[in-house]
Symmetry: C2
Subunit: 448 residues, 2 copies
């Protein structure tokens, strides 16, 4: 176990660094105290942010964007330290790639803040309203959630993206990023906090939590009454650990075991590009297809043709027996393949006897993210749309469209695969709650 070196950082959060990354929780009570203390300061900051008018929030985000670009040399220097440490520690090239900041990436991050600044303010929107027969005036109004906790891996851009979305929706944010991005995240958060102070706003609206101890996450997700919601972003393991251990409400994001079902009545000329785009456009994102289901009535016409296209794109097929009879070079699928979110150029393939069998396969193995059917039969399309239970159900289009930007939300904090509160891409409105505001003039309720 390494020796902890406590230090009060410029971020105002006492952090503990260890000589070795990932050492245990010997100091857990103290760590808990620091997390709860950060949460309490966030709560206080939230009382300032909740009522903040849109003009002030937009000014804040635009200033942050400018200052991040201006601080690019500092940010890149801090990031270089992370990249150096990660390389020394032997992190895979893919992870290093997501970690790296460049001048262009910093400009992109700043541009993201400007995009969010240009979006309408969700806070104060009146969702419903009426005057009751007794004269009471009733309005349901959007209000911020309050203190939003983010638990995420890898990419430092999440630090700024999440802060921008949270602040614009009147929330404050507690960030728990990856230890591999610690220097980058600190540098980014330092810029954001400087801007808050510059604009006479509480710097504690954006706080970075210690990232070297997993116990930080546990303390954050059990801070009931202090933290209003925790949003985990990352792999399936991180998300399910957070959701199962949390006593604070959570918003699940992003595990996508997505299917494309090619119906007997599919147009093969549409089906091939849809499958190709769903799988290979960006295999590492959650809306990528992981399993192809093909109706037996079209299998011999469709499978050999799509296999050629997929092979050219570098995709490995993991196929059932019926598929392998038509595509002999496919790898034999195991039971595990149907439940695997590859996030790579791999695709499970199965022939089904009917639409009903496809729906049941999706119900059993899907994660409720995005499910697509390709068909020219309107009854099959309606049936699939009605019976499949997922955040997005798609007819004759690629699964890759499930995305806040594509849906016209301007920006997203993640894609929810849960059923409560928000389902599908989550933008600014999904970071709010509501409040009933009731105006009377001495009204009392009669006995019933």
């Amino acid at each position: 176990m390494g020796t902890p070196n406590r230090e009060m950082t410029t971020l105002g959060v006492v952090t503990t660094t260890f000589d070795q990354v990932g050492t245990g929780s010997h100091d857990s009570e103290d760590l808990r105290g620091r997390v709860l203390d950060a949460a309490r300061r966030a709560r206080t900051a939230a009382t300032t942010f909740g009522p903040l008018p849109q003009s002030r929030k937009d000014e804040l985000l635009l200033t942050m964007a400018d200052r991040l670009v201006a601080a690019s040399p500092t940010l890149l220097a801090a990031n270089a330290e992370d990249v150096e440490l990660g390389t020394q520690a032997g992190l895979p090239a893919g992870i290093i790639d997501r970690l790296v900041l460049t001048d262009q990436r910093v400009r992109d991050i700043a541009e993201g803040l400007r995009t969010v600044a240009a979006l309408p303010d969700p806070v104060g929107e009146v969702l419903r309203g009426r005057t009751l027969p007794n004269g009471l005036e009733l309005r349901q109004v959007r209000v911020p959630l309050g203190v939003v906790g983010m638990v995420y891996e890898g990419r430092p851009n999440v630090t700024v993206d999440a802060s921008g979305l949270a602040l614009k929706s009147g929330n404050v944010v507690l960030l728990r990023g990856s230890s591999s991005a610690e220097n980058s995240n600190r540098a980014l958060v330092a810029v954001l906090r400087d801007v808050l102070e510059e604009l006479d706003l509480p710097a504690d609206a954006v706080q970075l939590l210690p990232c070297h101890d997993r116990a930080t996450v546990r303390h954050l997700i059990t801070a009931r009454g202090l933290v209003d919601v925790v949003i985990p972003r990352g792999g399936a393991g991180l998300i399910s650990a957070v959701v199962e251990q949390a006593t604070v409400p959570t918003l699940e994001t992003g595990v996508g075991n997505c299917h494309v079902y090619v119906d007997a009545a599919a147009d093969v000329d549409q089906a091939i590009p849809i499958v190709l785009n769903s799988k290979a456009r960006r295999p590492s994102v959650c809306n990528a297809a992981e399993t192809l289901l093909v109706h037996q009535g079209i299998a011999d016409r469709f499978l050999p043709a799509v296999a050629v296209a997929l092979r050219q794109a570098g995709v490995t097929l993991h196929a059932d027996e019926s598929t392998r009879a038509l595509v002999p070079d496919a790898v034999a699928a195991t039971d595990e393949d149907w439940d695997t979110e590859y996030l790579s150029l791999d695709l499970a393939v199965r022939v089904v006897g009917s639409l009903d069998e496809a729906v049941r396969h999706v119900a059993r193995h899907g994660t409720g993210h995005t499910e697509a059917i390709v068909t020219d039969d309107v009854r099959a399309a309606r049936d699939f749309v009605t019976r499949v239970d997922a955040a997005a159900v798609v007819v004759n289009a690629s699964t890759a469209f499930t995305d806040g930007g594509e849906y016209g939300m301007g920006a997203e904090i993640g894609i929810s695969t849960q059923k409560l509160h928000a389902r599908g891409p989550m933008g600014l409105p999904e970071l709010t709650s509501t409040k009933w505001v009731v105006w009377g003039d001495g009204h009392t309720r009669p006995a019933s």
Copy 2:
């Protein structure tokens, strides 16, 4: 420990009865299996209920209403057994009172189902929709949550109310009522299941879980993937136990430590009836006021007068020193009083120096249910409304209005005090999720 007698009931759920009520969990693995099995059958039933058109659901609820009235003699006989057992076991009169069914109460329960049948179907409602620049047609549609678990105490009417609301919103329901109402609940559920079968619908859409073992609740609230949401209804202890131990998403209902703040600029003639109505109309419900906060600038005019009115209504005051200087017969408040949901004719009273102090008291002690201000000062009213974070914030009216029926929702399954998904009275729409439905014509997403 009693000897378990297994029996297959007419409800299709294997229940275990014990010679002694409330004995332990020696059979816990078996119990878990039975709860999960019930949940699996509910999931299957849910696939039928999700797509059911409104006409079929309304026919179901109206038939259930008729059959319940017709079965009144059987229901009252079963209920008499519960009342007899409860009386022998020495249950308090208040609990016995809530347990008792009469012909009139059965007619009221049936009428509740007819009210729900008359409400619009939330399922299929299009919340948002647009055609994207690329021609993709996008709609966000309300869909059922799926399998709803209800955990509740005492009153047998909840068995039918919750079933009616769940079924109308396309869901199926797993009911876990109080053991003290076991015979009543079984008789009610038997009627509902008979009607389901009569109309060729799956009886497993309404299932009663074993009620004699607390482990049932634990198995229900951890059945992730089988149960979509659990709604606890009852005391604060039940609710927080469910919410903290659940891995299934929960909808918290009903703990209300509600405040009335009488501002310096209050109209005393309005303030007295508002306080009286908020406290004494029905002290046992969650929207009743538990604490009165009075601005020091109006205390000497207001407190002696309101104390007279409250005393006449039988209310005991638990007051701070400043209040007792003006109302000498008030009981001295302890720190606990500020956090107590009395649900009785008791009221905590405190004099505050400012609106700010009132807001901070509410933030510290409130449960986010309903908070009221009485004032003629428009700036004070706006300030209170903006700064107080609760499901309902009320100006110049009684806290007693926070109710689904009063808000025009027709019926409610409870009042949510959480911030995610639903806040305030929950009617049919709050028992739904959403689904994005995307129609294309061979659309693929360009590389970005």
